[in-house]
């Protein structure tokens, strides 16, 4: 018993402390070093932060270079899959494009109005600038959903910067280095976004699910019944982490036998991202701006500001009027062409009706001639048939159509 315990202790001691051939450190030292690194990396010291940034920069770049062959394979695989659905996608896209074109006009008007209202209720005007960023590392890990982009603090990226795919939200920056940043995707389990669900105007928080959809959480009970598959999910801006009004996805209802689950299907496919936009927001406070203007101008500034707003409003209305006019013109030309088409169809119909009428006459005459051949001897007046009719009279015709005289 004692011997086996001794053996165990010797084996353990050997495993931990023995420095084998070519090993510079014992494993126990490395265990302590690992624990030390874990603790140290969570302390926010300036030196450690810079060291971490340095390591990140180096590792991300190396990872990008090493991933080139795998990315090549991955892209080839995706391209082959894309080609197989190319025509189907093309038809779907064409249909969507025509729908979107018509919606675009009203959307632009709403944007103008929205911008104006935001300027009125906020004490600052936010001007945003979207910077195109390339994704250098995207390993699509099953545990953590994040990507590395090639823009960092050098390009004014900050922690919390919103990241877009076209105009759809894909995530936010959680780690900034000098020339690279890590973006936490909306699909990550640790991602929580306050959202508004339209048109029901329901407030909720969505959480990632490690898949290409999110789950709706923290929603008032009973409200979910109002949600439909056409409901749109966009950021509410609550908590000032995400800008308000950014589209995220649409509601997907997952019905099983017992329960009804509401999920958010993202507009953007996170596994296909190659480039994203990082939104750099600069806030210019209106009050400060006004004060500066006060120094250089007279006291009639508030009236000027109001006039400015009214002028802007006028401009927006004029622009919208122009758009409506354009739309009216288009509709008019469309109505004219439709009317022409109606007239063309009407003449075509009348021609066809004439033809049908002629055909009916021909058909009845043909029938009479056929019967005439067969029954003329029964109807024609002759020496033997005194009760018959003279050829060409109405009675003769009736007699032929009746296949002989009724009394016969």
């Amino acid at each position: 018993m004692a011997t086996s315990r001794d053996d165990f202790i010797i084996a353990i001691r050997s495993a931990f402390l023995k420095k084998s051939t070519q090993q510079k450190f014992s494993l126990l030292t490395l265990v302590f070093l690992s624990i030390f690194v874990i603790i140290l990396s969570n302390l926010d010291f300036k030196v450690i932060r810079y060291l971490k940034i340095g390591i990140n920069e180096l590792v991300y770049r190396s990872s990008f270079v090493v991933s080139i062959p795998e990315n090549f394979l991955k892209n080839t695989f995706i391209e082959v899959t894309d080609y197989s659905t190319f025509f189907k996608d093309y038809k779907k896209n064409r249909k969507e494009l025509s729908e979107l074109k018509s919606k675009n006009i009203s959307s632009e008007i709403t944007q103008y109005e929205n911008k104006e209202l935001k300027e009125l209720i906020n004490d600052y005007v936010s001007s945003s600038d979207k910077v195109l960023a390339k994704i250098i590392v995207d390993h699509d890990s099953p545990f953590l959903k994040s990507i590395i982009i090639n823009k960092g603090s050098k390009d004014n990226i900050k922690i919390g910067t919103n990241i877009y795919d076209q105009s759809y939200l894909v995530g936010r920056v959680i780690e900034v280095n000098y020339k690279t940043s890590r973006v936490l995707l909306l699909s990550d389990l640790n991602s929580n976004v306050p959202v508004t669900i339209a048109p029901q105007n329901v407030q909720a928080i969505i959480t990632g699910s490690s898949d290409n959809f999110a789950q709706i959480k923290y929603i008032k009970a009973g409200i979910t019944d109002e949600l439909t598959e056409k409901s749109i999910v966009y950021t509410s801006g609550t908590g000032a982490i995400f800008k308000s009004g950014i589209p995220i996805g649409k509601i997907r209802i997952n019905e099983s036998d017992k329960s009804k689950k509401f999920e958010v299907e993202f507009y953007s496919d996170f596994s296909q991202l190659k480039y994203v936009f990082a939104e750099i927001i600069t806030k210019a406070e209106l009050i400060k701006g006004n004060q500066e203007e006060d120094n250089s101008a007279d006291k009639t500034k508030p009236i000027d500001a109001k006039l400015q707003i009214l002028e802007d409003e006028l401009e927006i209305i004029e622009q919208s009027n122009l758009k409506f006019k354009e739309e009216n013109e288009n509709l008019k030309s469309e109505i004219i062409s439709l009317n022409n088409e109606i007239i063309r169809y009407q003449t075509e119909i009348s021609q066809k009706q004439e033809k049908i009428k002629q055909f009916d006459i021909d058909k009845s005459e043909l029938e009479f001639l056929r019967l005439n051949l067969e029954y003329s001897h029964k109807c024609r007046k002759s020496f033997f048939n005194v009760k018959g009719f003279s050829v060409g009279t109405e009675g003769y015709k009736k007699c032929i159509l009746n296949k002989g005289r009724i009394n016969d």
Binding site: D7, F8, I10, A11, I12, S14, A15, F16, K18, S20, T21, Q22, Q23, K24, F25, L27, L30, V31, L33, S34, I35, F36, V37, I38, L40, S41, N42, K52, I55, N56, V59, Y60, S62, S63, V66, S67, E70, K74, F77, I78, V137, H139, D140, S141, P142, F143, L144, S146, E175, R182, L189, N190, T207, S210, S271
Partner: protein, 168 residues
Amino acid sequence: MTSLKTRGFYYKLYSLLPIIILFISVLNEFDFNYLNLDYFSFNFPFILIFFFTLKEFKNFDYLLVFFAGLINDTVVGLPLGISSLSYVLICIATSYFRNITIRPSPIKDWFYFLFILSLLNSINYSILTLFFSYNLILMNYLVNTFFTFAFYIVFASLFKFYLKGIND
């Protein structure tokens, strides 16, 4: 003289191949994730470290394994040191297993690997959820453990060819 030097260089390169593959795999996260199969994932560095620290530990520098862990944490986005700790713990486990094993057998190695894998993934999961408040799906860990265990025997048979080459 030159040919001896060349042969020496190639031999050195060949002996360092597992370490080079380890670094490539942590930088690249070699796991076929782009196939988009539900839950499918496996931990290639675990297989590599376990096999080579068990069979060919003389050419497998523990310090480099530690650095590979740091790189893996940086790439994946985990707190720095977590993977290093896991990798070093594998080294300890294999070192202990080597000391107590008299007659090595692939099946014993395989099931010992399953035990170590489950233990390490449990430690990882516990540290990340308890100390770092990460939200993680346990099912992903279980499936990852299963596939890593299943793939071990495949990779182990491939690595044996490498060992044969180095011994010859």
